[in-house]
Amino acid sequence: MAGQTDMELIKDGVRLDGRKPDELREVKITAGVLDNADGSCYLEWGNNKIYAGVFGPMECHPRHKQKADRAIVQARYTMAPFSVNDRKRPGLDRRSSEISYIVSQAFEKVVMVEEFPKASIRVDMQVVEAHAGTRCAAMTAASVALADAGIPMRDMIPACASGKVNDVVVLDLNKEEDNYGQADLPLAIIPSTGEVVLLQLDGHLTPDQFEEAMDLATSGCMDLYKIMRDALDKSYGGKK
């Protein structure tokens, strides 16, 4: 982390994978891919491959987690054992519990939880292939799946990371940049209001770089939001 590296991750404004510093990887989103879930989404983001499924609103179990006046969002982020180079031991670990928790918190801000007292909305995100930036990718997929499930919400949340490699602030880190870069800043916003619902930072950024990284991630989120809208439009809007 925050490591000094001899690796040349960016050269003459071109990154290892040929992108400019402010360019996203290619994102493909398909809504409604699973029959058994109430809502679902498959997302490919560079080499990341993620499925998200939504169930509910339904009765909340365990009962002690119920809220008398509103629903809770129970998000679950899991990585497949074959999603990374070294086999990942399946099941919950420190990292996935953290991501599940922050994603639940973020979605409770946009889902109209007060409409479903005592209920639970389950959001399951399965990372099939990981290539850096999976928490953002999983959240984006989950947003589309929630919309696909017909769950009322104030807006969809796009999530996107920015970071720093070789002292240059860049958008949407790939695997190499994530491993050998100097900072990683995942961000999720509510596009209509600009509210921040998720913000984390690994590594070191100067105040100026932080501002730059925030602006970059915000614009990345807005680009992503358009792709999410197009995906839903393609699945449902074309029918008359």
Partner: protein, 227 residues
């Protein structure tokens, strides 16, 4: 600015297709599928906006059944208690069918003799409270236990399409397949008849569910059933 006008044009083309958080330009009263913020109305679901009824509604494409008092539904028994049945009606919560609302004389603890898990009934929603719990009754009109037949589940939002204008779709399916059909407002559909006929009707229902937002469905289904 050009981006904005492009977006507006697009939504016009696709017949008021809206996504969560989209601003709805309207003077009508707020209806369903929307939320208000700073005196303006926004869509809260993926669906088609419509304010012809005097209310600004967004009809969602998908979503769980939202029970309303007076709705006729098909319910499936999910659990039996000493004096109640818990019924699956496709809503967020299971519905309660109290023994006093069943029309049968049920001895305490002997509920499973009348309705056991998996049995279907044709019932009416008679109470919904603010906390989201609801009760159904069998003591109304033609409510009864449904023997034989099968239950098909479609999206509750597709129910108007299954029925069709003045029941045109459902009449066509009934006549063409020679089956008895009860359509619950919750998207549970009970079909009874000969095995082949049921699977034919079932296929028709599934097609309607899949293509609920396309035009000329009745003709398409009639064609499908004639095969």
């Amino acid at each position: 600015m050009s981006e904005e006008s492009k977006n507006n044009k697009k939504s016009e083309n696709s017949k008021g297709f809206v996504l969560p958080g989209d601003l709805l330009e309207t003077k009508s009263k707020p209806g369903k599928g929307i939320f208000r913020k700073d005196g303006r109305v926004y869509s809260s679901v993926v669906g088609y906006s419509n304010d012809r009824s005097g209310y600004m509604n967004v009809n969602a494409i998908k979503g769980r059944y939202n029970p309303k008092v007076g709705d006729k539904i098909v319910a499936i028994c999910a659990e039996t208690g000493p004096s109640v049945w818990r019924m699956d009606i496709g809503a967020a919560f299971n519905s309660t069918l109290h023994h006093s609302e069943s029309g049968w004389k049920v001895p305490f603890g002997d509920t499973a003799r009348f309705l056991s898990i998996g049995d279907a009934v044709w019932a009416e929603v008679f109470m919904v409270d603010a906390a989201g719990s609801h009760q159904i009754t069998l003591k109304k009109d033609d409510c009864r236990k449904l023997y034989s037949g099968t239950v098909v589940k479609v999206e509750p939002t597709a129910v108007p399409r299954v029925i069709g204008k003045q029941g045109s779709m459902i009449t066509a399916i009934r006549e063409k397949t020679n089956t008895r059909i009860q359509i619950g407002q919750n998207g549970f559909i009970w079909i009874d008849g000969k095995g082949e006929d049921i699977s034919k009707a079932q296929k028709a229902m599934e097609t309607i569910d899949r293509e609920a937002s396309s035009e000329g469905l009745t003709k398409k289904i009639e064609k499908l059933l004639e095969k």
